[in-house]
């Protein structure tokens, strides 16, 4: 089966719409969402509605720190992100906010762990920056593969039976076999706000039969996403950064 995985959508409708369509074209039959549906972007209402619909049809979704910040004022965000979350509270209805508040921090299905940030302490929202962080995350689980997001830069780590880590920056469109003899941590890039210098939306496809992951890029209409952010009076840097993928 082919599974489409999406992290850090951040209310970017053109990017998320493009990724979903592309994943469906590639044959995705199941969808996994790794958190941060809101924040930064200008279309949280549409985005959350889609997630609610897909979860009702069997998709899996976990909680991200921006989603958590909607109902939990103790979650720390930077000033721009905080401003967008305050605006987002006025955009989402009760059912939408309750849906987000009720999302689990992690889900584990058939040896695959889904979590928004580093997995050793999910509520701390730690970034996976390098192999040391990745090792901490992998050591905290017995799952064969952990999928996370949060840092907005794609990376793939593995831990061998001998305890050695490997780090790798994936090439988009090239599948990598997640060998059974080791544990893996697949860090996804961001759908709605890529920060690896490539403005195209980032997601991944998992082939469960071959146990292969393919990191994908979907070019989308950045102008439109940026225009929406400006129309809503959100911080303009959030629009500008989409053009450069930073």
């Amino acid at each position: 089966m082919l599974i489409g995985l999406f992290a850090d959508i951040h209310a970017n409708r053109p990017a998320f719409g493009r990724c979903l369509a592309q994943a469906r074209d590639l044959g995705a039959e199941q969808f996994i969402f790794l958190g941060d549906y809101v924040g930064y972007g200008a279309e949280p209402d549409w985005t959350v509605s889609i997630i609610i619909d897909l979860v009702a049809e069997g998709a899996i979704a976990v909680l991200g720190n921006h989603d958590s910040a909607l109902s939990n004022t103790r979650v720390q965000l930077n000033a721009e992100a905080q401003a967008v979350i305050e605006w987002t509270r006025g955009e989402l209805g009760v059912a939408q906010r309750r849906f987000l508040a009720d999302l689990p921090l992690t889900r584990e299905v058939q040896g695959r762990l889904f979590v928004h940030a580093e997995a050793s302490r999910p509520p701390s929202w730690k970034y996976v920056v390098d192999a040391t962080d990745a090792a901490r995350s992998i050591n905290a689980t017995s799952a064969h593969v952990t999928f996370c997001g949060h840092i907005h830069k794609p990376a793939l780590y593995s831990l061998s039976a001998a305890g050695k880590m490997t780090a790798f920056t994936p090439t988009s469109g090239v599948s990598v076999q997640l060998l059974p003899g080791r544990q893996w941590l697949a860090v996804l890039g961001s759908v709605g706000q890529p920060r690896d210098g490539n403005p195209a939306a980032s997601y991944a496809m998992l082939d469960t039969t071959k146990c292969e992951i393919t990191y994908c890029r979907a070019p989308y209409d950045v102008d439109e996403a940026a225009a929406r952010i400006r129309e809503k009076g959100l911080p303009t840097w959030l629009a500008e950064r989409l053009f450069v993928g930073k």
Binding site: A131, L156, S158, S160, A161, A162, K164, M165, T166, A167, F168, T171, V174, V176, Q177, L179, P180, G181, R182
Partner: protein, 474 residues
């Protein structure tokens, strides 16, 4: 799950185990068969149990990832891989014959034979590098030849794939490989430079032509590290009849600094195929190793041994293409040749490692007996080589970037296509004759080259000048 037993006549996933072919430190090889298979096959089964070398597992994982992604005549075809959790194995094409190791007792080989072998290996490496793989264990026991002549590279357990996680990179602090052939930068942990394979091929060529290994066969860390500063004895010191051009090629492959070697395996293959056009630098003249002062300077100059960032394998190859330009010296206006030069210049200006092969076809008649001398007794062949150099002169290319070739053929298009195929040409520039009588009679050479070439072809035309009888629409 019960682990299937490995013994003759047992069947694993439809493969019948026939005969054990080899039992090495890291893996066992079995000849296997399957009723529907048309080619001979072998099964590689890793040896890993408690206490075995962890490198065996990792190198098997690497080979299992890489082999299914590479194809073509220069690699054994991948057939199947076993489930790691039950019985790990790889089934691949069984290449008939012996590896190049069998030739060790015949060393040194004739220069012509060693050169031909080297050219085939370089062609195989070029193909492999273009598939994003650096082999990292080029040595006689990993090289075989098909009955059709092409070299086949075996064993991808130490290889690096540009688009896959490199499991060997992080796993071991010591470099894995075969000491006599290992490139110096490998000792510094660099695994993504395709020119490491050219160093290994240089070591092999040195060994096959002199009978002596350029860096001995020490496997101690010091013995291996020595090649970071100590250059090998020039082959001409060992054999007085050693051709200067061959020493030039071999020592260029063995440069300590990867950037001083050939930029691509295709460019190395090109020089091995055209010995009389190799530019002879000071390398070709050397009879002694470098003096101690330079060696000490090299040893303590950290800059030379500093690992540096570099572009991806694909970008590295793309920056050093071989261009071929087909020049018509007999027919058509000279301005078309000027236009070809302008186009070539534009490409060469952006790619300092690119090289240019200028071609001219000396057409032979189908029936008539051809004279190679004209009515004044000049050699037409030499005249044309001179004319080609004259055409290229304004490009002001260093001589190692330029070669000239006169191809004698009945059919010009076929001659150009064959040259491009045999010499790993990446890009052909050819002019289109317009409104010519010959074109009407013979058909277009450029159109056929464009249609049939297996590389990029640029058709060059003179820019059309608007004729005055046309009304200008404003």
């Amino acid at each position: 799950m019960v682990k299937p037993s490995l013994e003759p006549d047992s069947i694993i996933d439809g493969f019948r185990i026939e005969q054990q072919l080899h039992r090495g430190g890291m893996a066992t090889l079995w000849r296997v068969s399957r009723p529907d298979a048309t080619m001979p096959m072998l099964m590689k089964v890793p040896r890993f149990s408690e206490g075995e070398d962890p490198a065996a597992i990792v190198s098997f994982e690497m080979e299992q990832m890489i082999l299914p992604r590479i194809s073509g005549v220069h690699v054994p075809a991948f057939v199947a891989a076993g489930d790691f959790a039950i019985q790990p194995y790889i089934v691949m094409e069984h290449i008939a014959g012996k590896t190049l190791l069998a030739r060790l007792r015949d060393l040194p080989l004739l220069y012509s034979e060693a050169t031909a072998i080297g050219e085939k290996i370089a062609a195989a490496l070029d193909d492999l590098h273009r598939q994003h793989v650096v082999h990292h264990d080029v040595k006689p026991s990993n090289i075989m030849f098909r009955s059709t002549g092409e070299a086949v590279l075996l064993d991808y357990g130490l290889s690096h794939h540009d688009q896959l996680p490199d499991l060997m990179q992080e796993e071991f602090r010591l470099p894995f490989g075969t000491a006599p052939y290992m490139a110096p930068e490998r000792l510094l942990g660099i695994r993504h430079d395709a020119r490491s394979d050219l160093f290994s091929l240089g070591a092999l060529l040195y060994f096959f032509t002199t009978g002596v290994r350029p860096f001995g066969d020490s496997e101690t860390m010091y013995g291996m590290r020595r090649r970071l500063w100590r250059d090998p004895v020039p082959p001409r010191r060992l054999k007085s009849d050693y051709p200067a051009w061959l020493q030039e090629i071999v020592l260029r492959c063995l440069e300590i600094e990867p950037a001083w070697r050939y930029p691509t395996a295709a460019q190395l293959a090109f020089d091995l195929g055209h010995p009389n056009q190799v530019k002879l630098t000071a390398r070709s003249e050397r009879l002694k190793v470098d003096p101690l002062t330079s060696v000490l300077r090299r040893r303590f100059n950290r800059d030379l041994t500093r690992p540096r960032t570099q572009p991806t394998l694909a970008a590295q190859l793309a920056s050093a293409p071989i261009l071929a330009v087909a020049i018509d010296l007999t027919e058509g206006p000279a301005s078309l040749n000027d236009e070809l030069r302008v186009t070539a210049e534009r490409i060469l200006a952006t790619l300092p490692s690119a090289r240019l092969a200028c071609l001219n076809v000396l057409k032979l008649g189908r029936i008539t007996l051809d004279k190679t001398l004209d009515e004044h007794g000049h050699s037409k062949h030499i005249d044309r080589l001179v004319a080609l150099r004259h055409w290229a002169e304004p490009l002001k290319l260093e001589s190692q970037r330029l070669t000239v070739h006169v191809l004698e053929a009945i059919d010009p298009a076929s001659a150009i296509l064959e040259f491009a195929q045999a010499n790993h040409i990446n890009h052909i520039l050819i002019g289109a004759r317009q409104n010519s009588v010959l074109r009407k009679v013979l058909g277009s050479v450029s159109a056929r080259v464009a249609a049939e070439a297996s590389c990029t072809v640029t058709i060059v035309r003179r820019t059309h000048v608007a004729r005055s009888d046309k009304t200008l629409v404003t």
